[in-house]
């Protein structure tokens, strides 16, 4: 199991939009950097657009950031591309047997723990901004 690479691709896309902000970033161009199919890029860009992170118009080549990279967190991106449902990171078997002590209490015992484990992970993502990624990328080009 792993979280869909849509997330890492989305970060890649947004980084390009900022770093190459003076250029025209078409889905073809971005696809060649990500090394995938342009349709994959358009799909993800569509999700980012619905989430208000990018601006893109049918017929007009290229996409642009809709916000300052300092105002976009990795959690925003993660939520935008629907890779994990809210409180849904951990799958839980449903309908355990209510006639068993463990069966009727297991969900109540583990769901809150799973929720807080997921939250801990998401808090790390919330603490990182797109700006931080950009800086890291640029620092390696010096």
């Amino acid at each position: 199991m792993n979280i869909s690479s849509r997330f890492s691709v989305a970060i890649h896309i947004l980084s390009i939009l900022e770093i190459n902000k003076t250029g025209t970033n078409t889905s073809d161009f971005i696809a060649s950097s990500v090394n995938t199919n342009p349709v994959v890029i358009r799909r993800i860009t569509g999700m980012l657009s619905k989430a208000g992170l990018v601006e893109v118009k049918p017929g007009v080549p290229g996409a642009k950031l809709a916000k300052d990279p300092g105002d976009i967190t990795l959690l925003d991106i993660y939520n935008a591309v629907n890779v994990v449902e809210e409180n849904g990171l951990f799958g839980v078997h449903d309908s355990p047997n209510p006639d068993c002590t463990v069966g009727r209490n297991i969900q109540g015992a583990i769901v809150p723990l799973f929720t807080s484990a997921q939250k801990a992970m998401e808090n790390v993502l919330a603490a990182v901004k797109l700006q931080d990624i950009i800086q890291d990328i640029e620092a390696h080009e010096m």
Copy 2:
């Protein structure tokens, strides 16, 4: 996407082994509490056995905890059932284009972040013992 319910089922199994420690916990019995097929239970019990968390012998009915429930963390169980690979929670698109500034630096920029986000989640699991789950279950039966 979510983490396989093998994890929650494994916690369920181990809880039964402790709470019903005086009984004989066959895969059939456990399956009726989890509400699944006995083979699913035996598969997971086999993984827990390889990880040294339970003792089970071919031909001998029932399984037993191999350790004190105070010495088993949720992280131990999570690792035992192989639901997430080490540093593999987040999928990352491979072979981005090295001829692009973003392409050649994106992995270096995001992998450490993904690793620390995953670690944060796993640290929450590491802080919870099977014993805590058992106590929670029993507290609800008072």
